[in-house]
Amino acid sequence: MAELLEMKNITKVYPNGIVANYKVDFSLKEGEIHAVVGENGAGKSTLMKILFGMHTPEEGEIFLREEKIDILSSSKAIEKGIGMVHQHFMLVPSLTVAENIVLGAEPKKSIFFDKEEAIRITEELSSKYNFKIDPRSLVKDIPVGLKQKVEILKALLRGAKILILDEPTAVLTPQETGELFKELRVLKDKGHTIIFISHKLKEVKALCDRLTVMRNGRNVGVHNVSDVTEEDISRLMVGRDVILTVEKGKPNPKETLLQVKNISQRNQFGQWMLNNASFSLKAGEILGVAGVEGNGQRELVELLTGLLPLTKGEITIKGNIINNYSIKEIRELKVSHIPSDRMTYGIAEKMSIENNLFTDKYDTEPYSKKGILNIKHIKKRSQEQVKEYKIKCNSPLQEVKMLSGGNIQKVVVAREFSSDPQLLIADQPTRGIDVGSTEFIRKKIVQLRDQDTGVLLISADLNEVMELSDRLIVLYNGEIVAYFNDVEKLTEEELGLYMLGLKKQDDELIRGAVHEK
């Protein structure tokens, strides 16, 4: 079969210096369902956004039916017959399904919008592809699975022959996933070519013809799905290129700091993101929470830090049940938090480094006394911290947004680490930052542990959780599917199997995540 589409030698460097794609080749055969798999940050989405004209690569060329094309915008991509269904839907909630589908290409009856025609178009399209959908219902009233169908139909109406689906099943229930697969097969039979981005290997096995594995911004292999096992794929996905080792001694666990008992939480779509999770953490140890992103980590962190109110289960920190505690009350228990979304929750970008370094302790001595800020102390401390944490800047008065990603994260870390935390919740502490900063932050985490801080380390980075954790749990689909008491004996392949949901321990073993009294 001829190559329908070829991307050659694609390199993409983001303004903050991260190399998202490096000399990536990618090709599609007409009429196949082609999986692009890889961990978070492996460069899958970047590559697809380049194909859909949302990013321009620094290097590389794209050929469609052996003809070189330039895709400078999404409308250009649409024109070339490429459609994309984003993870975050591009829909208008208060409009009907039909209105969303024809938006931008509305049928008209004289000067009026022809609603009936829009409904007819939608019905015709959905029956052609065997989609069951009511064109008249409002998008805000329909479940996520249907919203996704609307997105797919939108792309099809605009003549998409190549359809990119970015982690389409991340928001779907198993039943909805099944239905989606049926529909995708219908599309394939009608001659469409589908790119399916995922890290759920079972789905890839069930649906796809070929797959491209991405790791660390590179294409590390193209295979026929029938030729490889799930284990093979997982090995390819999680294999480590560079191993950053952090020297660390044996842990010396003290009293129990954190106890999580049977907590559950739903997300805005009503899906259970956390399901009956229990574990505990002692002072002086690092408990790793491994897992591919979107498996309940975010909810776990938000519940622990008070950003989300807890409705089911119980969380105890230092003997206090914190279910109804405010963020401030939790912080007063000497809990620090490195948020995964640092630009939103970690800093105020237009304020100076100095002003970002004491947001969590501005109302305690010596930062302020009777409401008056101790400017001298604040200045002194900020200079010390800039030095100690090697924050590269001209002065502590510089705006945070002028710093590089790694240095911004160092500002967050400097603030959170310098308040003598007894419990540290580190959520993806080194994601997307340079190697130097990464190594530095990891060392600091170990240092804190040695000073008897209990660390909960949430990370999708295998290297990180394996190197740093003393004990480790794995989250998959909101459940703890594995617990390891001794991380040193664990291999990355085995961990990968749990993270990708291919294996699950017995309940007895998992129960080990809770310290015995």
Binding site: L95, G104, A105, E106, I111, G270, P309
Partner: protein, 310 residues
């Protein structure tokens, strides 16, 4: 108290309500269109003043009330376009652009008034025209009803018609669909090739045009002259009416009539020895109370929604 009830149920009160609601209707339709496109237009007040003066000047010089009206609407549209330029091209905050237009409207009209009429308070030295009053065909034959609904300035009927037009524009035309899409999720609109900037320009220009009608009515219908700051907050009330009406043409219209009734009442009550200032305050208080009620209802709906989720 009897007197109070007598006022409310009098025919002239009904007539007065329609008369004072007219500018609110126009301006609130302007507020609605820009709000639907996701831009808040707090400059309605200033645009009304600019349009009111333009109407007076042009009608005085051309001796055509119709040309005066057209000029007023044009002035409103152009001001809307200027705001769009400032907020979309120069990236000035839309609220502060609105504050600027209000300042220019308040001061600029007095400045211009002095240039043409040599008076800083009122335009009575200009021989400006008013738009005609219209007796409605069949309705003018029916007693009582006729006294309330017939014989209004032509713009009163245009205002009522414009509610229908806005409804059709927003809910029944392709442009309206795009306006709503842009206001709710501009990324979605952008991703299917709808020009967000073009739609916002359209909305602000239309918004300005409606404020232009409102202004023209003030100086060429409600009264027959322009006077300094003659809109006294009607542009802001229109904004509140739109918020209280939940952003729908019907809800907004109802809210406008509530405010209109409050204002008409305040005008009538002045004859009753109720302290005038107290009465004049009614529309504004009603607005705040209405807005608070509306928001609290919305807030509790959101809470309920969240609870069902948990």
């Amino acid at each position: 108290m009897d007197k109070f009830i007598e006022i409310i149920f009098s025919v002239s009160f009904g007539y007065a309500v329609l008369r004072v609601t007219t500018p609110l209707l126009f301006a609130s339709m302007g507020a609605l269109i820009s709000d639907k496109a996701g831009v808040i237009n707090i400059a309605l007040e200033g645009i009304m003043l600019i349009a009111a003066l333009t109407g007076v000047i042009v009608s005085a010089f051309t001796q055509s009330a119709f040309l005066g009206l057209m000029a007023a609407v044009l002035a409103g549209s152009l001001t809307g376009a200027a705001m769009a330029y400032a907020s979309l091209n120069l990236k000035t905050d839309i609220i502060l652009s609105g504050v600027a237009v209000n300042l220019i409207g308040a001061g600029g009209t007095v400045f211009a008034l002095y240039l043409v009429a040599h008076d800083k308070g009122i335009s009575s030295s200009l021989r400006s025209l008013v738009l005609p009053k219209v007796a409605l065909p069949i309705i003018s034959q029916i007693p009582v009803i006729s006294d309330i609904f017939s014989g209004h300035n032509i713009l009163t009927y245009v205002a009522i018609l414009s509610v229908v037009l806005v409804y059709i524009l927003v809910y029944k035309t392709p442009v309206g669909l795009q306006i709503r899409a842009v206001g709710e999720n501009s990324h979605a609109a952008d991703s299917v090739g709808v020009s967000v900037i073009k739609i916002k320009y359209t909305a602000l220009i239309l918004s300005g045009a409606f404020a232009g009608f409102a202004g023209a009515y003030m100086s060429m219908g409600y009264v027959s002259w322009f006077s300094k700051n003659m809109t006294v907050g009607r542009g802001f009330i229109a904004l509140a009416a739109e918020a209280m009406g939940g952003g729908t043409p019907l809800g907004t219209t109802i809210a406008c009539f509530v405010f209109g009734a409050a204002e008409a009442l305040s005008n009538s009550l002045q004859s009753l020895r109720v302290p005038t200032e107290f009465v004049q305050m009614i529309p504004y208080v009603v607005t705040v109370v209405g807005l608070a009620l509306y928001s609290s209802r919305k807030a509790s709906q959101i809470k309920k929604h969240l609870r069902n989720r948990g």
